[in-house]
């Protein structure tokens, strides 16, 4: 009976907060612009990791034999498939170097004299790649593309050689099995190409909810204290828990609205594929909120006014945002940062969200994270609720 009253009062407080929000046009606009801005911003500012195409590269043929001509035509044929490079021919090394210095080329192939001779006399023939490493990232890419291309050409040449040898010796062989005894077949958990947004979207959802709830709690409670309406609620026969519940519920509705928006944008515009259960994902969001809302309430209870409450919350929130592995995988951080990440509830929430949404993980797969989040929530709430009650009747 008493519990029903608590829930009913929470509902009334939530409804009142949401009605106030709906009347405030600026807040409503900000509510919807924020997730869009976050998704676009964080989706594009980080290097994507895919290889650049159409990199201008020179070709200098100092050999001019049959072997080098064949090499160049094979190089052109291969490149026309993937277009990593834009190849231009130069007659001398100096001409190509001048172009590099002027920034018009990223590097150049140099086929030294004697290339054809080496090839026709059973020797390995060198090809030089002169890469401009004044821009290390581009140089790395050029090096990678060169190595790959040459490897592929080696393979083709080897297959050709094996076929020739087997013909002369009268043996039947599978040249593919001779030259490439191992064939890597890369399959991914998420179909399609690697997509950073796949990684980002679930984390961003839990982060938006956290920001909305954590900044919203001091705003909602301190503001009412300051304008005086809090006394109206406290002098009414309601449980103080109803105020926390109602306020949090109103903020959850806001946060969930933003999450749905992120989800739609991510799927429609950024090619994110959702494999798991959306319901479980939202349940996870709720659990995430439960795990960190206590921190917000502690901040409110300890601060005198809205400004200091918001400041304390921001102080706690920013490290949580960047250390919880929302934007970068945790594994790429140094060990001490990883240790810090381990005490942040958001880390577990983001991790579990990702597993549920992208890998179709069930509750059983993320039970560790769930238990840790519940523990976080119980401990912080156990501290927060008495503090809050005390701060109400100071």
């Amino acid at each position: 009976m008493d519990l029903m009253k608590i829930f009913k009062d929470s509902y009334h407080i939530m409804a009142k907060d949401l009605l106030s929000l709906r009347r405030n046009k600026m807040s409503m606009a900000a509510l919807f612009i924020m997730p869009i801005a976050f998704l676009v911003m964080f989706g594009f500012i980080f290097p994507s990791g895919t290889t650049q195409t159409h990199m201008p590269v020179g070709v200098v043929n100092l050999d001019n034999g049959q072997g080098s001509t064949q090499f160049i035509s094979q190089l052109n044929a291969l490149n026309s498939n993937n277009s990593y490079l834009d190849l231009q021919n130069f007659t001398s090394t100096d001409a190509a170097k001048t172009q590099i210095n002027q920034g018009k080329l990223y590097g150049t192939f140099i086929i030294p004299a004697g290339f054809s001779y080496n090839m026709s006399h059973g020797q390995s023939a060198d090809v030089i790649m002169l890469a401009d490493n004044s821009n290390p990232q581009i140089a790395t890419q050029i090096e990678g593309v060169t190595t790959n291309t040459i490897t592929m050409m080696n393979g083709k040449q080897a297959v050709y050689n094996v076929v020739n040898m087997s013909a002369t010796t009268g043996q039947t062989v599978n040249p593919q099995a001779m030259v490439f005894p191992y064939t890597p077949n890369i399959e991914t958990t998420i179909p399609g190409q690697n997509n950073y947004f796949n990684f980002l979207a679930p984390g961003l959802m839990i982060m938006i909810v956290m920001m909305t709830v954590m900044t919203g709690i001091p705003e909602a409670i301190s503001k009412e204290k300051e304008i005086g309406t809090f006394d109206g609620m406290l002098s009414a026969p309601i449980n103080q828990i109803s105020i926390i519940l109602g306020k949090t519920a109103a903020l959850c509705v806001r946060g969930f609205g933003q999450c749905i928006l992120i989800l739609l944008l991510a799927v429609v515009f950024f090619g994110v594929t959702i494999q798991g259960s959306i319901i479980l994902a939202f349940a996870m969001l709720l659990l995430g909120i439960f795990s960190f809302v206590g921190i917000g309430i502690v901040a409110v209870s300890m601060s005198e006014d809205q400004a200091s409450g918001t400041m304390i919350v921001n102080l706690l929130m920013f490290p949580m945002m960047f250390l919880a592995g929302i934007f970068y995988p945790l594994q790429q951080m140094p060990w001490f940062m990883q240790d810090i990440a381990k005490v942040i509830p958001l880390t577990y929430a983001a991790d579990a969200m990702r597993k549920i949404m992208l890998l179709n993980a069930g509750l059983g797969d993320v039970i560790t994270q769930v238990l840790i989040l519940i523990a976080f929530g119980v401990v912080t709430m156990a501290i927060a609720v008495p503090l809050f009650r005390r701060s109400m009747t100071r």
Partner: protein, 338 residues
């Protein structure tokens, strides 16, 4: 209903070293309008906040509507209404939405709540504003909503903290009418004010409170009689070249028990003793003061009582803590009155 709506026993509230309410004891009878009169920072609001369960007493106890303030806080809340100094309402919501929200917190059934809202809006002549957002209201209109909000659950006791502060005379008048109406319907009203006129006009009994203590408690009439009994004369002196030197000179006189400055030229002085008036005139003349007029106030007002009891100094919130001397004077005055 118990005979006493409120019983307060040795109630004390400390904020750090500062005693906002100091060992307060009093009784409020059911059905009366009880006024707390005192300067800013005297402890009126803190007392009200404690009686509304919004602040925990440091020590002492009180029953409100027959329930213990601390042990039965929930029961107390069911029986009281609060008109706080900061208006309790949400700007973005309409009058009806505000009233509905709080009505629901008091578990008023839906149909009854709607009738009650209409009834109350009618009482304060605000029916036509029912569905208008509060942010379009004037201060006076807001205060009317603020008052009827407290009446929603039909409380036995209603607390009003400075209900007419910052209102124009017309609205002040109408709010006072409303307060009388509420009281006629049997609701006990506890109000705080620093306006003497208000306490005098509304209250059945007044507690003059200063430094968290009661300086005097009685009906306005009896309070006024007190100072006439002790042979105090009160007069206004208009001095064209009034300055601080003159002020200090008058204050230091034996005969002068209280002094307040009314405007740039006028002083209100309470004095006792045979030669009071002569001494005051001599003091002013000796310091080069130019007396324009002297008027004798035959009938003392509550303001005079207040002056006589709380001392000479006109204090405001800022100088509150650093005024031990006037406190001593207040205690002396209290002793004399008794």
């Amino acid at each position: 209903m118990t005979e006493n709506a409120i019983e307060v026993n040795n109630l004390t509230k400390e904020f750090g070293d500062f005693k906002a309410v100091d060992d307060l004891s009093l009784e409020v009878k059911s059905g009366e309008i009880f006024g707390f009169l005192g300067p800013n920072g005297a402890g009126k609001s803190t007392t009200i906040r404690m009686l509304c369960t919004l602040a925990q007493p440091t020590s002492g106890s009180a029953t409100v509507a027959g329930y213990d303030l601390v042990k039965d806080a929930a029961k107390v809340r069911e029986n009281i209404g609060l008109v706080a100094e900061k208006m309790i309402m949400y700007d973005a919501l309409t009058a009806a939405e505000n009233l509905r929200f709080f009505g629901k917190l008091y578990r008023i059934p839906k149909d009854k709540l709607e009738t009650r809202i209409d009834e109350l809006l009618e009482m304060v002549n605000m029916q036509e504003w029912k569905d208008t957002q509060i942010n379009k209201f004037s201060t006076g209109m807001k205060q009317r909503i603020n008052v009827i909000r407290a009446l929603l659950p039909e409380p036995e006791i209603i607390f009003m903290d400075e209900p007419t502060l910052g209102l124009d005379p017309q609205t002040t008048f109408s709010i006072r009418e409303i307060i009388r109406d509420i009281n006629k319907k049997g609701v006990t009203v506890i109000l705080t004010t620093h306006a003497m006129v208000e306490a005098e006009a509304l209250s059945d009994r007044v507690a003059i409170i200063d430094h968290g203590k009661i300086a005097a408690l009685d009906t306005p009439e009896n309070l006024k009689k007190m100072i006439s009994d002790v042979n105090t004369t009160i007069f206004s002196v208009k001095i064209t070249n009034l300055n601080t030197q003159l002020l200090e000179g008058i204050k230091s006189l034996e005969n002068v028990t209280a002094l307040s400055q009314q405007d740039d030229h006028t002083l209100k002085i309470s004095a006792t003793g045979e030669n009071a008036l002569n001494n005051i005139i001599d003091s002013i003349r000796a310091k080069g003061g130019n007396i324009f007029s002297i008027t004798n106030s035959n009938e003392s007002t509550l303001e005079d009582v207040f002056l006589a009891l709380t001392g000479k100094e006109i204090r405001d919130h800022a100088s509150e803590k650093a005024a031990p001397s006037s406190h001593g004077h207040g205690a002396k005055a209290q002793a004399r009155v008794r």
